[in-house]
């Protein structure tokens, strides 16, 4: 502790006291004024401060420029992805048009065509339209209590909540489901990465609109009374999460982008 005590007791450079004592002894020669030495010293001080300030500003500029360039790259890639997805959709449309034209030639083909359309609707490979319900789930208003460190933000809609809503819709008899325009198929994952909910590995932004097609008479009540509705009631009561369920006569659910057929191949046949 003596070191720290020493530090507190004598913060001033001892040189000053020594120099003063020396002057006292030699008598007179009061050098408390200004000299060229002082000029050089203060020049050095000012130089250090200015260089540090300019350096700090430059570093901040570089950092924000890097951030900007990263952000612009992200938006660029996002736009590219969207463009490619719309290309895929257009090509799939073309493909199915050719397919149906070929199948429509024969009676056998026509029945096959109907069967194919049913299967595509079920598998999510084709867009479907019809009556259904829209469940809108939104984060709690910003005044809702949130933890300070942001580790667990209870006012947020989590991937688990959306999973329960979607599963509740299936249980209530929904025939096709989409979240914010992302078709939910048997291969869809609803998960979160860094507080962002991903559906089909695409990041979504709240509010989440879950569109479900199904029997307009039974679907709403079965959903509200089922596990999905119960869960929504629970989280809206506990965490202020807002939700809304409305029926609509005419809804469309888009096709899922790019469903690949995966199948096993016997060994040695390839």
């Amino acid at each position: 502790m003596s070191l720290l005590n020493d530090l507190f007791d004598r913060p001033l450079d001892e040189g000053y006291a020594l120099a003063a004592a020396r002057r006292e002894r030699s008598g007179g020669d009061d050098r408390t004024g200004s000299s060229w030495l002082l000029l050089i010293g203060l020049l050095g001080v000012a130089l250090v401060f200015t260089v540090a300030a300019t350096q700090a500003r430059r570093t901040a500029g570089v950092l924000s420029a890097e951030r900007e360039s990263l952000m612009s790259r992200i938006t660029e890639r996002d736009a590219r992805t969207e463009e490619l997805e719309s290309q895929i959709a257009a090509m799939q449309d073309e493909l199915s048009a050719i397919e149906s034209a070929q199948l429509a030639r024969t009676a056998e083909g026509a029945t096959l065509q109907e069967e194919l359309e049913d299967m595509q609707a079920a598998a999510g490979a084709g867009a479907v339209a019809g009556p259904g319900i829209v469940v809108t789930v939104e984060d709690a208003p910003s005044e809702a209590p949130t933890t300070e460190d942001g580790a667990v933000d209870y006012g947020r809609v989590l991937d688990v909540d959306l999973q329960r809503v979607v599963n509740g819709l299936w249980a209530a008899g929904a025939e096709a489901v989409a979240v914010n325009g992302q078709r939910v198929t048997g291969l869809t994952a609803i998960r979160s990465a860094n507080d962002v909910v991903l559906v089909n590995y695409r990041p979504l932004r709240p509010p989440y609109e879950v569109v479900a097609l199904g029997d307009p008479r039974t679907l709403p009540s079965r959903f509200v009374d089922g596990p999905g509705g119960t869960w929504l009631q629970a989280i809206s009561g506990a965490h202020d999460i807002r939700f809304d369920i409305r029926s609509e006569e005419e809804l469309t659910v888009p096709a899922s982008g790019g469903s690949t057929l995966r199948h096993a191949v016997p060994e040695g046949s390839s």
Partner: protein, 110 residues
């Protein structure tokens, strides 16, 4: 008069030279700033105490900056650079606060 000219020249030089500090020297800049601050407030207190000496001021400034930078450099070489810069900041910070408190007492009598 001369101190003001010195400060002005220093600021102008810093703005005009506009050197890019090499990346390897950048960690020493904050240390140099704190060491310079310590020298400045020490000098100011000595001035108010009536024992200011320009030679002591200049030597203590240069020595403070160099020694602080050297300690941090040594720490970097030994792999404890961050801890040693903390030590330097703590020691100089304590001196700064006590000196500023003394200056405050001189000026405001409180």
């Amino acid at each position: 008069m001369i101190p003001a000219i010195g400060l002005l020249l220093g600021i102008l030089a810093g703005l005009l030279i506009d050197v890019e500090i090499p990346l390897s020297l950048q960690p020493y800049l904050p240390i140099a700033v704190v060491a310079a601050l310590d020298a400045v407030f020490g000098g100011l207190r000595a001035l108010l105490d009536g024992i200011f000496d320009d030679k002591v001021f200049v030597v203590s400034f240069v020595a403070n900056v160099l020694i602080a930078a050297f300690i941090v450099f040594l720490g970097d070489q030994l792999g404890v650079g961050a801890q040693l810069s903390t030590a330097v900041i703590v020691v100089l910070g304590i001196r700064l606060f006590t000196n500023v408190a003394a200056i405050r007492r001189h000026i405001f009598n409180a």
